[in-house]
């Protein structure tokens, strides 16, 4: 008979605490609403911070060193680039399983183009100034073409995209083996190699100190411009705008993140031998403690930023993106609204092909070679990045920045486990579990909210 008493005693205060917590979280979410920040995006950022701090602790401070973060950025870039396109594919209720094989095929084609197909007599070929740009344009066109071809079969042939791209996965990989006969194609053009973020002699595939700061300032200016124009536009139509403190907070946080990221990348020096060679070539005296030359933002990361901007623009500011989301939300409604559903889906696949070409350039340039197994299983990483980043398989939901974050989360897990000397099968197990847990958690949170 004593039992109820303590129960009542505990129930009172715990109710009070729950109430306080609830009202506290209400004001926090209210503030967040003012900031117009996606709460799930915020949750992912917090998860990423947790992962980073955890690995940093376990690795004794190595994880958050500029060197590791720089490498992490380069390793994330090629998956992140393709993940932006995969978002649109999955949002439109499709899937592309062929991106890894497309990447291999395109990398191989670009290597063949610069090494063998284009004649030196045209002023092209290895070591010539325009070779890299001709190669990249060729890769983009070919990627758009083969991606678009798969899109045509999906959209106009009405074959499910799972099947079409499963076929693509086999076909493009098979074509590499058929043409390359198992051979590696190397070396590649030196300018082209810069796209991979690697080092050739004293040249480094990165922006360097000043280039990085200039890019950072441009980004900050872009953020400010975007905030001001959107506020002005809403004002002009007499819509409610965010309070000024919220506007300034958003801008300041974004600028701080940009500047500190660049600061980290600039804190990563060129390797000693490269720096010394550079000093020798430029007659710079080497101080006794060694020469510190900033590496800056790697070119693959610059490409990733560029792709993010372009695809985000397509997804949110253009009809194409609006239609992709509408089709994902309700294909029948999209068709009844007069949207050309087939053309839109075909274009999404073509875009995916072009992005696979960008990643192919990054990966072959980094390896300084096209190998037959380039991009194997990349489709799984790309799809995982998009899904961890909040893209829903039921269609209509997903964001490009989310997918970038997803790619960084995945690569952080892998890179951290490498630092901790975790073997590769265990890495796969962890990444697999995280993938399922992330989606499960997200589904749980969302079903609770509705």
């Amino acid at each position: 008979m004593n039992v109820p008493v303590p129960e009542v005693a505990t129930a009172g205060p715990s109710n009070g605490i729950a109430h306080t917590l609830r009202s506290a979280s209400a004001t926090v979410s209210e503030r967040l609403r003012f900031l117009e920040i996606d709460t799930r995006m915020l949750g992912m950022l917090l998860a990423l911070v947790g992962i980073w701090l955890g690995f940093n602790l376990l690795s004794g401070g190595t994880f958050l060193s500029p060197r590791n973060l720089w490498n992490l950025s380069v390793q994330s870039a090629s998956i992140a680039i393709m993940a932006t396109g995969m978002v649109l594919i999955i949002v439109s209720r499709n899937i592309d399983l062929s991106v890894g094989s497309m990447l291999g095929f395109l990398g191989y084609a670009m290597a063949m183009l610069q090494g063998e197909w284009i004649p030196k007599s045209l002023g092209l070929g290895l070591g010539e100034p325009y070779t890299w740009i001709v190669t990249v344009i060729f890769g983009l066109l070919l990627g758009t073409l083969i991606g678009g071809l798969q899109g045509v079969v999906v959209a106009y042939g009405r074959v499910p995209s799972f099947i079409v791209t499963l076929g693509g996965l086999l076909v493009w990989r098979g074509l590499i083996f058929r043409f390359a006969q198992g051979q590696t194609i190397a070396p590649l053009d030196q300018n082209f190699q810069m796209l991979g973020g690697g080092t050739v002699g004293t040249r480094v595939g990165a922006l360097g100190e000043w280039g990085s700061w200039i890019l950072a300032l441009l980004l900050c200016a872009g953020i400010a411009y975007a905030l001001v124009t959107s506020r002005r536009r809403r004002r002009r139509y007499g819509f409610p705008v965010r309070p000024m403190w919220a506007e300034i907070t958003v801008g300041a946080v974004a600028a701080a993140v940009t500047l500190s990221t660049v600061w980290v990348f600039n804190s990563y020096p060129l390797p000693v031998n490269v720096a010394n060679q550079y000093a020798q070539e430029h007659n710079i005296p080497v101080p006794p403690e060694g020469l510190f030359i900033s590496t800056g933002i790697a070119f693959p990361v610059v490409l990733m930023l560029l792709v993010t901007l372009v695809v985000t623009f397509l997804a949110t500011r253009r009809r194409f993106g609006r239609y992709v989301y509408a089709i994902g939300g309700n294909p029948d409604a999209a068709a009844l609204a007069g949207i050309n559903v087939r053309r839109t889906i075909m274009l999404a696949f073509a875009l995916m092909g072009a992005l696979a070409a960008v990643s192919a350039a990054v990966q072959t340039a980094r390896l300084n070679a096209a190998v037959t197994n380039l991009g194997v299983q990349n489709e799984l990483d790309v799809i995982s990045a998009a899904v961890i980043g909040g893209t829903s398989f039921s269609g209509g939901v997903g964001t490009v920045p989310g997918a970038i974050l997803g790619a960084v989360v995945m690569q952080s897990l892998r890179s951290g486990m490498v630092l901790l000397l975790v073997d590769s099968p265990t890495q796969d197990i962890v990444v697999g579990l995280v993938l399922v847990a992330a989606v499960g958690l997200d589904t749980f949170v969302r079903s609770g909210r509705r």
Binding site: F313, G328, A333, A337
Partner: protein, 270 residues
């Protein structure tokens, strides 16, 4: 009691119908879903289109909205022969449709839905502010309490979703409106709002096809009533000339009132 294939409303005797559909046929496989139906609507008029399940009402209306072009038959808009091969063609002719399913992209917000397929662009980018502004105006006419212009329509109530679907139809100066079960999912207050809207649209000279199961709705709002039965048109009657029982008889027995016997009518009530 005048009952023929097409009875013109007396006031509209000399005018040209906004839409005149003649001998429309649609087949799915071997099934004749619509079998030679003729129907028309005049400016400011509401046609109630009624019939049992599978009578072909919705299929007939889908040929007019461009969702499913007819296999045979002629559609005249303002007296001119028109080809309606897709929803764009219908919209270009001023024919707007509110589908029973509402046909909303649930993941998009109200302005995106209202302007879906007809977005306002400025400098090659979507002008969301302009679309939101227009949407606020048009939905304000329908439901002054509507506030959620930034949330996906998935999170809205049934009445609010209906308002979005109606806003989409009337935003673009529709001249003919097809409403498929517009009040099926609504509460009493929202239903009366929709009724008021239909009357207002009629007074603006818009022609309305009202597809409904609800015989009271139809008698409330329509000027003429067209009854379909198993893909055929049983007949078109002036509302004032018939009783609800007679229309029910047409729906259930598939015969014009003149051919319905007293006994059959009694059995309907039995």
């Amino acid at each position: 009691m005048a009952v023929t294939g097409s009875v013109n409303a007396p006031a509209a005797a000399q005018r040209v119908p906004l839409v005149d559909m003649r001998d429309i046929r649609v087949s799915f496989g071997g099934v004749r879903a619509v079998n030679g139906v003729s129907i028309d609507v005049y400016p400011g008029e509401c046609i109630g289109l009624v019939g049992g399940n599978g009578a072909g009402k919705t299929t007939l209306m889908r040929t007019l909205s461009g969702a499913r072009p007819p296999d045979a038959g002629e559609i005249r808009v303002n007296g001119q022969p028109a080809t309606i091969a897709n929803p764009h063609d219908a919209q270009a002719l001023g024919i707007e449709t509110i589908y029973q399913t509402l046909a909303l992209a649930d993941n998009l917000d109200a302005p995106a839905n209202v302007f879906l397929g007809r977005e306002i662009s400025a400098a090659a980018t979507l002008n969301d502010a302009a679309m939101e502004s227009e949407t606020r105006k048009v939905i304000g006419r329908l439901n002054p309490n509507f506030k959620n212009f930034k949330t996906p329509v998935l999170r809205l109530s049934g009445g609010q979703r209906q308002a979005v679907a109606i806003a989409r139809a009337i935003e673009f100066n529709a001249r003919v409106l097809i409403m498929d079960e517009p009040t099926a999912a609504l509460g009493p207050a929202e239903t009366s709002q929709v009724h008021a809207l239909i009357r207002q649209l009629k007074s603006e000279g818009i022609g309305i096809f009202l597809v409904s199961h609800d015989i009271h709705d139809v008698f409330d709002l329509s000027d003429r009533i067209s009854v379909m039965y198993h893909g055929r048109l049983v007949g078109t009657v002036n509302k004032g000339d018939v009783t609800t029982d007679e229309v029910l008889g047409m729906i259930i027995l598939g015969k014009p009132p003149t051919k319905i016997t007293r006994q059959e009518l009694a059995e309907l009530h039995g």
